[in-house]
Symmetry: C2
């Protein structure tokens, strides 16, 4: 039984193999194994975000490896913590999978969590979790962060005169998903792993990678807050929709520059940059005089627009090169 299933190994043996692979975290007082974990919150406040990744709706096991799923769970959740101007301290992971899942798959998942933390948020710990059974894999992550004395950076603080910046690339993850749907499904619309692997190793590899194992600019969150960010959010549902959220919350117009947006989307179309989703870039408003570095932690920092005051009777919204840009509402209940 070199590579037993969960049914063969049982929960205790699975945990015995998985737990040592998880990063301990430098604010962890008590990790997995009791009724609950204990994490330090030096600031006296804790930033909290939760998200679920579901097989079928959010990922296909024929395309993503288990390592990818662990990696993506970290990349997509900790960026929400970063978008508040906080440093991610820890996360908990509740995983439900079929009993036929191999323990080695869960080890790969744990290594994905650990590798992503080491790469994007060193010092963050996986402090607890839950293992259960489900017919389709379900991954629920809750992540925590520390504000280090900063005020949280909300969506609502953008002011007319601020510049709008984007940290990280746009459109690539959606482009990768489009490639996978076009070239890595069989006649029965089932994912074909070999085709996905070929795409990933080929000319479109960067987009496949952005979709399956994204690298998000987590460390940039506190830096941008310290630069005076007035509003910030994780671009996850497409730039147009997420910019509209900032516009609405702040009561302003976000005027995007089409050429600059295209420049923030190497390898992707303007369409994908505006409406693609799953970018996990940071959209941030900074006071006009502030010049952030051209790169933060390997992620390009680009000015893509400006915050403008509303005219009388004008409703908050987004423009592209001066023309109104309608957000395409992504709604999980209406898709597909």
């Amino acid at each position: 039984m070199d590579d037993p299933t969960l049914h063969e190994a049982g929960e205790l043996e699975a945990l015995r193999r998985i737990l040592p692979l998880l990063p301990a975290g430098d604010t962890t007082e008590l990790g997995p194994g009791d009724d609950a974990a204990v994490v330090r919150a030096p600031d006296g406040r804790v930033v909290v975000t939760t998200d679920t990744m579901l097989e079928g709706a959010d990922f296909r096991l024929g395309w993503s490896t288990w390592h990818d799923l662990g990696w993506k769970a970290v990349a997509t959740n900790l960026i929400d913590v970063a978008a508040m101007g906080a440093r991610p301290t820890s996360l908990v992971v509740a995983l439900a999978v079929p009993p036929s899942t191999h323990v080695s798959s869960l080890e790969d998942f744990a290594r994905g969590l650990a590798d992503a933390v080491a790469s994007m948020a060193p010092g963050c710990g996986v402090v607890g979790g839950d293992l259960g059974t489900a017919p389709h894999a379900t991954i629920a992550v809750t992540a925590f962060g520390d504000l280090g004395g900063r005020a949280p950076v909300l969506r609502s603080g953008a002011r007319a005169g601020d510049a709008v910046w984007c940290v990280g690339g746009l459109g690539l993850a959606a482009t990768g998903l489009r490639h996978l749907f076009a070239q890595a499904l069989d006649a029965a619309a089932e994912p074909v792993r070999a085709a996905a692997e070929r795409l990933r190793a080929g000319a479109d590899g960067a987009s496949i990678e952005a979709q399956l194992a994204p690298v998000s600019p987590i460390a940039a969150g506190t830096l941008l807050a310290d630069l005076g960010a007035t509003a910030m959010l994780d671009v996850s549902d497409g730039l147009a929709l997420d910019a509209a959220r900032v516009a609405r919350a702040s009561g302003v117009r976000i005027a995007l520059d089409g050429a600059a947006v295209a420049g923030a989307a190497p390898g992707a179309s303007l369409e994908a940059a505006l409406h693609g989703g799953e970018d996990h870039a940071l959209l941030v408003a900074l006071p006009a005089g502030v010049r952030p570095p051209a790169e933060l932690g390997g992620h390009a920092v680009r000015r893509i627009g400006a915050v403008e005051a509303l005219a009388a009777d004008e409703r908050p919204g987004v423009t592209l090169d001066g023309a109104p840009l309608a957000p395409r509402g992504w709604d999980p209940y209406r898709a597909g």
Copy 2:
């Protein structure tokens, strides 16, 4: 469209109806609506626990109402916070359901969360969440608590000479589940709501209630910690197994008194009290001289055993009236 489905109403409209029903919480600095919530952690540490409830494995929509599910999610998660000696401050809920689910069902779920918080943990807030789609309902809850300067009460602190107490009833939830399986399934093994409702209103109603909408002794956690609890845990997998966990973690023998255990299980058999599971009572070790109140927040407090030193070469374990009691390992991957 008086009672639209999620598919008809969409996510925004669903959130517009659900969010006002959720309790705000008295440590909440920023609730739902941004990338993340911000919760005060006055102690400078935060207690964290996560758990998932899955349709099929953990509940049946033919037996549980949506209000029950919201209630149970609170009762079963906050007791893990309480078992550390902490006061629950907040929780986040990630919910994935089929698009055919009615918005009114989610409203009932939210009311269940709110009613349970008001009843068992007033002041606790629902500060964030996530809505998604899944073929079967999936509820992932992460709960937070504040230690108020206390040391967390671990499983590992029980010392020979301590008395073992139980706060809350044993065996009733498992008895209720047995009734439901015996009397509320149709010929195709599908749940029958009318039968479940009849049982709930009848002579076995208390056990059905304990299974579908349990009341857990959440407020007792900090009180027991303040009385000097040396070890504490939430009895969720059966007293025998959970007591064995304390014994192993503490390196002691837990000697249970059969008559006292039976006394802690009104309406249930000794078998159900020892091995039933889902009790969500608190098992706590207190120094010999400490006499807790006979009742805490409406939950009976009963002495059910003692912590004893191991003999040479003896392995940690549990006895019942002096005879070794083998825990029945509940393993989600091997059940069924």
